[in-house]
């Protein structure tokens, strides 16, 4: 389920079934079981009507390399039934700042430019839902960041819903309102990025202190906290998010002067790794 105007991330390790799921949702792979509905309509029975209202962008699919960007977009505009496609193509090309690329052959473009053209293709029919399969996979960090900004802006300006797959946890964290974790073809978790990270209780507390090391050590042993001293006046404690205030307060009470606090909470990547390695059930 992708709510209107939201970006839902589809995550999972290699072989989890992300791309296969996208292909089934697009109708190019037939599901062995289950039902797909778009906008309350059964996909198989109303395929063309549904496809008219959705679109797709992926780094794995490109347009025809030997024809120009303009010609490619014109073909797709006609496939989506646009009666006067020129202004729409130019409007989107201006929005994505690629007006000067329209006469160029698609295969002469850089990876970042191709991604922008793919996004224009994906927006031609003013879709209500776009399926994006790792759209930034082949991009360097700078171009990936710009592409994400464009996707965020497109979502804001056009109110389009997006189903988004990626291996990059930072970008999922940045743009997704909800995340679905897949593992071996099954949904194992579905929550907001924050909600998912909260399912892992573990946290790491790193304190820089002024005072006796043995006082700190005694306190932590008494509390049964696993810890280490990477530097003489720095202690690293493996704990839980809930215990952090009590630990800081307890050390202060024993006269330990804390000069710096660093808390490392679980990230989406930690959730991903737990699922991928099968070390925990976060669902």
């Amino acid at each position: 389920m992708v709510p209107k105007g939201k970006i839902v991330g589809l995550l999972g390790p290699n072989g989890a079934g992300k791309t296969t799921t996208i292909h089934m949702l697009l109708g190019i792979t037939t599901p062995t079981a289950g039902r797909i509905t778009y906008f309350g309509r059964e996909f198989v029975a109303h395929r063309q009507e549904c496809l008219q209202r959705i679109n797709y962008a992926s780094s794995f699919n490109t347009l025809q390399g030997r024809i120009s960007v303009w010609e490619n977009l014109l073909v797709f505009a006609r496939l989506y039934g646009l009666t006067n496609p020129g202004p729409r193509i130019r409007e989107l090309a201006a929005y994505f700042e690629i007006i000067d690329l329209l006469p160029k052959r698609y295969w002469d473009l850089s990876a970042g430019q191709k991604t922008r053209v793919n996004l224009i293709k994906a927006l031609l029919n003013e879709p209500e839902l776009i399926l994006m399969d790792e759209p930034t996979a082949s991009l360097d960090p700078d171009i990936a960041d710009k592409t994400l900004s464009l996707i965020e802006e497109a979502r804001r300006a056009l109110g389009v819903s997006i189903l988004y797959t990626s291996h990059r946890m930072d970008e999922v964290n940045r743009i997704c309102d909800e995340v679905i974790f897949l593992d071996r073809g099954r949904i194992v978790a579905h929550d907001t990025p924050l909600g998912l990270t909260k399912r892992i209780d573990a946290a790491q507390l790193k304190l820089t202190f002024d005072g006796e090391r043995r006082v700190v050590e005694a306190f932590l042993v008494e509390r049964g906290q696993r810890h280490g001293f990477p530097q003489p006046h720095v202690v690293s404690i493996d704990t839980t998010a809930a215990q952090i205030p009590a630990l800081i307060f307890g050390l202060s009470e024993r006269g330990v002067w804390i000069t710096d606090i660093e808390v490392k909470k679980p990230t989406l990547e930690d959730v991903f790794l737990r699922i991928a390695r099968g070390t925990d059930d976060v669902g």
């Binding site: 791309t19 292909h23 792979t29 037939t30 395929r47 025809q64 073909v75 797709f76 496939l79």
Partner: protein
């Protein structure tokens, strides 16, 4: 069925054809060179041997190009989109497989008409071979029967590519030549061994080539050999229906196994 979407695929075909040296070489240049070579061979044979037998070569070649270009266009046309990893993009648009295939069939017919016209003109002006001697009705019937046969072969080849992937893509431009000797393109069926004659008469183009030789061999513009035309049409009907069903089954299986999407991977 939407005329707009069929038009969109035809537009894409036009753009690709204009920009692809491969298509121009495979279709136009290959046809031009072949007609020139066959024209000279015919001229040599007409001078040295039997004039009618010599003209059968160029007649067979001109008609064979109807099969080759139509089939190439249908099968290889889709490979361009597979190679470009663009096929999925097309099918996630509201384009049906039927519309896509119809567009490629129409594209093939248009290319065939243009190239057939050009090479027929070369045959007429360069080698004094007038294809119009067959008569307009004969030509139309030959064109129709050869085109339908090439569609049947093209559909099966395309279905196989969707099912097994590009590792068998050579069939797209190679398989059709299997039918060239079997359908007695350049010689009478009687030349073939008896077993192969039975095979030949199971192929619709055989009736076309035989009827064409009869018509061309007649002193004046002759009438239509309706029994051959009907035999070719009946066989074509069977082959085309079987090809459509085989194609549908292969595409369905390709979609079930995920091969359809993996073809571009």
């Amino acid at each position: 069925m939407s005329g707009n979407r069929i038009g969109a695929i035809l537009l894409q075909e036009l753009y690709i054809t204009k920009r692809s040296l491969e298509v121009i070489m495979d279709l136009l240049v290959f046809s031009l060179m072949t007609v020139v070579v066959f024209g000279f061979i015919t001229r040599f044979l007409v001078g040295a041997m039997n004039a009618t037998a010599g003209s059968y070569l160029i007649l067979g070649l001109l008609l064979w190009e109807i099969i080759r270009i139509n089939q190439y266009s249908l099968s290889v046309g889709s490979l361009w989109n597979i190679w470009a990893r663009n096929l999925s993009n097309l099918f996630i648009a509201p384009l049906s497989l039927t519309e896509y295939i119809v567009a490629h069939m129409l594209s093939g017919v248009l290319k065939t008409l243009v190239i057939f016209g050009v090479i027929s003109a070369i045959a007429a002006y360069g080698f004094h071979f007038n294809i119009l001697r067959l008569g307009p009705l004969n030509l139309a019937l030959f064109f129709m029967n050869l085109t339908i046969f090439s569609w049947a072969v093209g559909l099966v080849v395309l279905g196989l590519i969707f099912l097994f992937g590009t590792r068998i893509q050579a069939l797209a431009w190679g398989l059709i030549f299997l039918f060239q000797p079997l359908s007695a393109t350049f010689f009478p069926v009687s030349i073939l061994p008896p077993v192969l004659q039975s095979v030949a008469y199971a192929l619709p183009p055989t009736f076309v080539f035989e009827a064409a030789r009869q018509a061309y061999g007649a002193a004046a513009s002759s009438g239509v050999n309706w029994s051959y035309a009907a035999a070719a049409a009946a066989e074509n009907l069977i082959y085309f229906v079987l090809a459509v069903q085989a194609f549908a089954l292969m595409v369905a299986r390709s979609r079930r196994t995920g091969q359809f999407a993996r073809n571009e991977g």
